[in-house]
Point group: C2
Chain length 356, copies 2
C-alpha cells in the first residue's frame, strides 16, 4: 500500500473503514471488509479501531490481513452522541480518524456504520464542500419496479433553499451517471403534485433553474411519492427532511407488507404449502427489497468520499457499502460532480435570480 | 328529509354528495351512495350534479331514490382547475353547492372525489375555521401491522408553524377518539429522528407545547417514517408537505411490493401452484392494504364536515368515504375538537410562547 496525495495517482484504491461505530460491532465490520476484499481484488484497507479487538479477527482472515493496515484508537463515537460532542473527538475517534485518512490522502474513501449526524459534522468539518456546493447531501439507491433510483438528500440538511436543491440535482445526476451507468439520467424534484403551481417556493424556483440549465441530465419536473417505486425517474431530489421521511416510510411499508405476508402464509395449512412451493420465487423478491442489498449512502459534494452504512447492516450490507465506495473511486464521481457544477455555473452564473 | 339548521337536531343525517367531480364519473358516485344507503339505513342524500345524468341511474336504484334529493347543476370543477378558478364557481359547481348545503344546514357533511386544492379552498371559504384553529388539516387512516393510524396533515398546508402542528395534534386526537374509539390516543410528531434535538424549530416548539399541555391524549414525542407501519402510534402529526410525501410513498411502496410479488408468483410453475393454494390468505392481505378500504380523508377544523374521497376510488371506495362522514356525524367529532381546543386554550393561553 503506497499512499499518494494526488487523486488518481494511487494504483490500488484504499478504504478507510471505521470498524467501531456500528451497532453490529467490530467483528461484523471486519468480516465485511474481508467480503469486499474478495469481491475487489485491488482494494486495500485502513482499519480504524481498537487493535486488541481487531487483531484476533484479522488473524483469522489472511486474505484481508494481507491488504489491511490497523490504525489503533480506543475512542468511539456513540450512536447517542450529539454532532457537537463528536466534533471534539475528530482526532481521537475511529470515525474521525477514518475521515482524516481521506483528508491526508492515505485513503480514497471513508466508510462508517456510525451515527449519521456525527459523521456528517466531522466529514464537513474535515473535508469541506467542493467549490460551488453550499451543503453536502446524503444520497442512496432505492429499489423500484425497474432499475434502482438515486434519492437525495436523505437527511443531511433539514431545510434547503432552491440553490441547495439545484446543487443536489447536479450531484445526484453525476452520481446516477456513475453508479447506474446512465448517460442522461431523468431527474425530478419530489413534490406533492405534478402541476407547476404545486409545492413550496424553494421547489418551484429550483424547477425553474433546472428547466433552463444546460446539464447532462433530463429534468422531468415534479414526481410524487407514489411514483418513486415505479422507477420512471432516475434521480429524486428533495430536502433532507422529506427525503428521510420518504426513505423511512418506504422501508417501513416494505416491512409492513412482508409482515402481513408472513402472517397470511401462516394463516392456513394450504397457505403454508403454497408458501413452500413459492419459496424460491419469494426469496428473489426478498433479495430485491433487502435493505442490505441497497446499503451505502454517500455524502456528495465534499472534497473526499464518505460512505455511510446503515447502523444495523450485517457483514454483507457493510460489504455492499464498501462496494459503493469502490465504484465511486473507480469512476471518479467527485471529478464528474465538479465538472458538471463548473459547467452549469459557466452557463448560468446567476441562474436562480434569473429564473425568478 | 327535513333539513334543520341546529346541529344534532336532525333525526336523519344527510350527506351532500358531489356526484360529478371524481375521475370515475357520476354513475360510480351514485352507486356508492346506494351501497352506503344499504349500510346506513338512516342516511339521506343530496346529490349535486347534472339531473339528466343522475336521473336514469337513480331510476334503477329504488332504495337510494327513496332517500335522495337531486340538486341540479351543469357546472363541474375539473381536476386541472386551480383553486382560484374553482373559488369563482362556489355557487354554480357541484362541488361548491355540496359544500354550501352543509353551510346552509341542509346537509351534515359534504363528500367529494374531486380536485383536493379546489375542495380545500371552497370549504375554507364557505365554512371558515373553528375558533382556535388557524388552518384546517386533511386527515386519513393508514393501515399498520396493528390498528389503523390517523395521519394529518396530508397536503392541505404545504408549510406549517408550531402552532399549526399543535392544533393538528388536538384535532387528530379528537378524530382518533371518534373514529378509532380510543380514550387517550398516542400522538407523535413525524420527524427524522426520535431524539429531542432532531428536526426543524417548528417541530421542536410544537413538541414542547404538547409535552406540557393537559389534553385527552398521550403525547409520545417523535416518530420516524419507518415506524408508522408498526402501529405503535395512533396519531401521526406533520405538515402537509411531509404528510403527503409519506402517504404517497407508502402507497407507492405497497404497489411496488404487490407488483414484485405478482411477478414472483408468475416466475415458475411451482410458484403459480403455490399462489393458487395461498390465494385465500393473500386476498385478506390485499384487502388489508386496499386503498379503497381506507378511503375518506377529512378536512378537520372547519365549521362543517367535508370528506375527500380519492379521485380514482371505485364505488366501494366512495361508499367508505361516505361511511367516514356518517361516523363523524354520529359521533359529533366537530364538537369534540372544539371542546379539546377550548380546554387547551384555557390551560395554556400562550402555550408556544411559554414553551420557547
Amino acid at each position: 500500500m503506497t499512499p499518494a496525495r494526488i487523486p488518481g495517482a494511487r494504483t490500488a484504491p484504499v478504504i478507510a473503514l471505521d470498524v467501531m461505530s456500528g451497532d453490529a460491532g467490530a467483528e461484523v465490520a471486519i468480516t465485511a471488509a474481508d467480503i469486499a476484499a474478495e469481491r475487489y481484488p485491488t482494494l486495500h484497507f485502513r482499519l480504524h479501531g481498537q487493535e486488541q479487538v481487531m487483531a484476533p479477527v484479522l488473524a483469522r482472515l489472511p486474505r484481508l490481513a494481507a491488504r489491511a493496515t490497523m490504525v489503533h484508537t480506543d475512542d468511539v463515537v456513540l450512536m447517542t452522541d450529539k454532532p457537537s460532542q463528536a466534533l471534539r473527538r475528530s482526532r481521537t475517534s475511529s470515525m474521525g480518524m477514518a475521515i482524516d485518512s481521506v483528508k491526508q490522502g492515505e485513503a480514497d474513501a471513508a466508510v462508517s456504520a456510525g451515527n449519521t449526524g456525527a459523521l456528517m459534522a466531522m466529514a464537513l468539518f474535515a473535508l469541506r464542500t467542493m467549490p460551488g456546493i453550499d451543503r453536502p447531501a446524503l444520497a442512496a439507491l432505492l429499489p423500484t419496479l425497474k432499475n434502482d433510483s438515486v434519492v437525495l438528500d436523505l437527511g443531511a440538511n433539514t431545510e434547503c433553499d432552491a440553490e441547495n436543491l439545484v446543487q443536489f440535482a447536479v450531484m445526484g445526476a453525476a452520481f446516477a451517471r456513475t453508479v447506474l451507468g446512465l448517460e442522461r439520467p431523468r431527474v425530478a424534484l419530489l413534490n406533492i403534485g405534478e402541476e407547476e403551481l404545486k409545492g413550496t417556493d424553494e421547489i418551484k424556483d429550483a424547477a425553474a433553474v433546472l428547466r433552463s440549465a444546460d446539464l447532462p441530465m433530463q429534468f422531468t419536473g415534479f414526481v410524487e411519492g407514489d411514483k418513486i417505486g415505479q422507477g420512471d425517474v432516475d434521480v429524486v431530489v428533495t430536502d433532507g427532511f422529506s427525503g428521510n421521511i420518504a426513505l423511512k416510510t418506504a422501508e417501513g411499508t416494505g416491512k409492513l407488507v412482508v409482515g402481513l405476508l408472513t402472517a397470511a402464509f401462516k394463516s392456513s395449512l394450504l397457505a403454508q404449502i403454497g408458501y413452500l412451493l413459492s419459496r424460491p420465487a419469494l426469496s428473489a423478491l426478498r433479495a430485491h427489497l433487502d435493505p442490505n442489498a441497497h446499503n451505502g449512502a454517500v455524502f456528495l459534494g465534499l472534497n473526499g468520499l464518505v460512505v455511510k452504512s446503515h447502523g444495523s447492516a450485517n457483514a454483507r450490507g457493510i460489504a455492499n457499502a464498501i462496494g459503493v465506495a469502490h465504484d465511486l473511486i473507480r469512476d471518479g464521481v467527485s471529478a464528474k460532480i465538479s465538472h458538471d457544477l463548473a459547467s452549469m455555473r459557466a452557463h448560468r452564473p446567476d441562474a436562480i435570480a434569473a429564473a425568478k
